[in-house]
């Protein structure tokens, strides 16, 4: 019964919160309208998203968000320093294949987004079987360290959250 009304409970919550933020005031009317949209839109779009995302430990997501935000700020200063103070020819870029242990599509999407937003790395493409991610690193001496750091810092946390 609950599943019939809310095909994606998290999506419903996010939509309601987005509507309240869009109107920019918290009142009974706004929350009601947001709730109506939050119930209706997942029904209209559920054909495009048949599976349900399962979060095993949603509270860890807050920790993950803090870690990523902090890394984004650090990343900006590092990339700015490389752009401003390094000679054009001394920047050593590298392609790094990162084998993946996670296999939920949502988790891989979040991991790819995180890699793009954090220190000097961009996720470029996924392998055809979905088991490896190609990462481009702006400046590194040791590609192995970067790969291990990605796996230890982000993938391990995502694995805990999703599986």
């Amino acid at each position: 019964m609950f599943d019939r009304i809310f095909p994606h409970p998290l999506l419903s919550l996010v939509l309601t919160a987005t509507w309240v933020a869009l109107v920019n005031s918290v009142s009974a009317g706004t929350v009601l309208m947001g709730a109506i949209l939050g119930v209706a839109i997942p029904h209209v779009t559920k054909a495009y998203w048949p599976g349900r995302m399962r979060l095993r430990r949603p509270l860890l997501f807050a920790e993950y968000a803090v870690v990523v935000l902090w890394d984004i700020i650090v990343a900006n200063f590092q990339v700015a320093a490389i752009i401003l103070f390094r000679g054009r020819d001394s920047i050593r870029s590298a392609w790094i294949p990162v084998p993946l242990e996670i296999d939920e599509p949502e988790a891989i999407t979040i991991l790819a987004g995180t890699i793009t937003m954090t220190p000097g790395t961009i996720s470029a493409v996924l392998s055809a079987d979905g088991r490896a991610l190609l990462v481009h690193c702006l400046d590194t001496d040791d590609p192995g360290t970067v790969r291990d750091q990605i796996k230890a810092r982000y993938e391990r946390r995502l694995k805990e959250i999703f599986e």
Binding site: A21, I72, W95, A132
Partner: protein, 144 residues
């Protein structure tokens, strides 16, 4: 006497300006497309983020009109920046790179841009843009 809030807002604004400028300068200075891609996706996101943070602090704390819809723009940019970056990288790779320019994935497969496109109806190997590999029951009833 300097208002500390105004100081915070000013610092945010100056930082956002510097990062926005460095992002675009990096795009002019770096040579390879993949290197250029690093500059805007990072620096500009914090550049706009700083401006939005300044706007939120100014309206919320200095003028007493509490606003949080700036968070929506920040969130939207943080969600979309990786997607556009990945698309631009793909345009570059499809156009300029050959199979030998990239390292092997390390698994038995090939990078998805070089693999043949999945057959229509064969969903098991789908997903150039999404997770790929494992696609969970497309035909099963989601409500069940």
């Amino acid at each position: 006497m300097i208002d500390p809030l105004e100081l915070v807002v000013s610092i945010c604004l100056v930082l956002s300006g510097i990062f926005g400028l460095v992002g675009s300068y990096g795009m002019v200075r770096l040579r390879d497309v993949m290197q250029q891609l690093h500059a805007p996706t990072k620096a500009t996101t914090l550049g706009v983020g700083g401006a939005l943070l300044a706007s939120m602090i100014h309206f919320g704390l200095q003028e007493g009109q509490f606003t949080f819809h700036e968070l929506l723009i920040t969130l939207f940019l943080f969600l979309t920046a990786p997607v556009s970056a990945q698309f631009i990288a793909k345009v570059h790779m499809v156009g300029k790179l050959r199979r030998g320019d990239l390292p092997k994935p390390g698994t038995e497969g090939e990078w998805s841009i070089f693999a043949p496109p999945p057959e229509a109806g064969e969903s098991g190997k789908a997903g150039q843009t999404r997770g790929g590999g494992k696609t969970r029951g497309v035909t099963t009833n989601p409500g069940a």
